[in-house]
Amino acid sequence: MDFYFSLAQLIGVHTLLGLSAYIVLLTGQVSLAQAGFFAVGAYTAGMLTVLAGWHLVPALGASALSGAAVACAVGFPALRVKGLMLVIATLAFGEGVRLFFFNFDYQVAVDGIRLGPLGGEGFRQIRFFPENGWGTGEVMLFMWVFVIAAMALLWWFDRSRYGSVLRAVGEDELAAQSVGINLTAVKVSAMTVGGAIAGVGGGLYAHYTTHIEHSSFNILVATFAIAYPILGGLRNVFGTLLAVIFVQGFLVEGLRFMGDWRNLLFGALIVLAMNLRPSGFLGGRRRA
């Protein structure tokens, strides 16, 4: 049973990562910076629980705030460019964050053991769950509270005026601007919400693996973040969830019996899915 709980935890973390890219994609922007916000959230929550002795819940709040703050700060300059330029600008930012953490040392002695991020070796011993005696089932439930909250938030956005504004910008920027929508405000706000969701996801991820390092936040993670909503389609949030279950549940775990050849099929199936349904599993009429 622990295996399934653990798998559900992984799916939860990746769903948050995918959702953070989903809301940015709604405005028609492709961002490879989500792994950077994910990293900021992971290091923030990890340092607060391990070094400052905070409880996980306020630490996750701090993760969300720091992710949102960084996303907002990056969004203003980055979202001035579009299309491939934005992809590269956000990629540069994401790699910059990764390299920052590659060089980031901040160790403090806690109970005689030096803990904290140590450059390339990463940040070990983020042991909030085992220290407080949480079982895998409880951890899974705890994580899914956040996943469901994020999904509900985005679902509500989609139903509200704000969601229509986001999609209007994604559909046709010129038309949206001509009816008085402030493009910068809409895009930066979407990026900020995405940053907050990625921050929470990162905080949960740090405590799920107990060990984070710079390579956990590389361009592969960033591309996975946008691959989920693209595979699932942008019609609603369930597309992203479905895509995460398809990739992490079916392709990674379900095909494990195939051994080493699994990843070759993995790539082929993603390509096949993209070719058969270019606008995603639950894709609507619009294409990103």
Binding site: L84, I88, L91, A227, S279, A288
Partner: protein
């Protein structure tokens, strides 16, 4: 101090020549297809591993290895084009990007399955000591890299501006719809451009691997990132820009490594790119870019 600066400049230009070659291939694909090909570096890595495999099993001369690298890269490029770019013509840019990302993982996986050791030796281009000019040294393989970059540029220029195929490529780059109306077979141009870009990537990959004398699966990510950086620094879709961007990236890395240390070297390059992009410096924003 001055001697160090000059030596760093020489080193920067040497590695910059490799970046310039990578960026040329990237620019060609981007300029014509307007698509980001994330598996470009992975295809290059695949080609280099084909050569490594041949070297380990049969032993082969340098020229033959170079030919195998290029052939392997073109083959991998054809696979990428068929699966990721042919189905999405006129469709979404991002579906093609996600698909090319999936193939990147496939190439890495295939390579580690067939050749499981992380690091393989690759026959070096030149074994002897570097050339010395007074206090400065210059590696012979760097000179070869320079020569190859210049030759590739010249060839590419000749192809683009002196042949019918080049005319078709330029027409498609300017106005795909008009080019199609004028009777240019668009898929035909796309496929050949992809092959050409892959061949340039193969040459770049071979030279990089042969001058390092070793190969790891990280080569894929390395060449994608360096090629993208160099292409962007020089301005999207411009061939001279790609060369200048490559050399500039090499110089920037060499000097920032000297002044700030190796850890900050890569960080500086990404920061500069981000700032330049966000500041919308004019040369980066050609019409084809947005």
């Amino acid at each position: 101090m001055l001697a160090d600066l000059i030596q760093n400049t020489l080193d920067g230009l040497s590695i910059g020549a490799a970046y310039a070659l990578l960026a040329l291939g990237f620019t060609l694909i981007f300029g014509v297809l307007r698509r980001a090909n994330l598996s470009y570096g992975a295809a290059i890595m695949f080609g280099c591993y084909c050569a490594t495999w041949t070297h380990l099993n049969f032993g082969a001369g340098l020229l033959l290895l170079a030919a195998i690298t290029v052939a392997g890269t073109v083959l991998a490029g054809a696979y990428v084009e068929r699966l990721c770019f042919a189905p999405h013509r006129g469709g979404s840019m991002i579906a093609a990007m996600v698909a090319s990302f999936a193939l990147w993982m496939q190439f890495e996986e295939l390579v580690t399955l067939v050749m499981p050791t992380h690091l393989y030796a690759f026959p070096a281009l030149y074994e002897g000591a570097p050339l010395a000019f007074g206090p400065y040294t210059l590696r012979v393989d760097a000179l070869v890299m320079f020569g190859a970059a210049i030759a590739a540029c010249a060839l590419l220029w000749g192809t683009l501006y002196r042949t019918r195929f080049g005319l078709a490529v330029r027409a498609v780059t300017e106005q795909p719809a008009a080019a199609s109306l004028a009777g240019i077979n668009l898929p035909w141009v796309y496929v050949r451009v992809f092959a050409l870009a892959s061949a340039i990537g193969g040459v770049a990959g071979y030279l990089v691997v042969a001058s390092h004398g070793q190969i790891t699966p990280m080569l894929g990510m390395w060449s994608t990132l360096k090629g993208l950086l160099a292409m962007m620094l020089g301005g999207l879709g411009s061939l001279p820009g790609a060369v200048v961007g490559g050399l500039a990236l090499g110089l920037l890395e060499a000097h920032s490594q000297w002044f700030l240390g190796p850890q900050l070297r890569d960080l500086i390059a990404y920061l500069l790119l981000f700032v330049l992009l966000a500041a919308r410096v004019p040369w980066m924003h050609t019409r084809s870019a947005s």
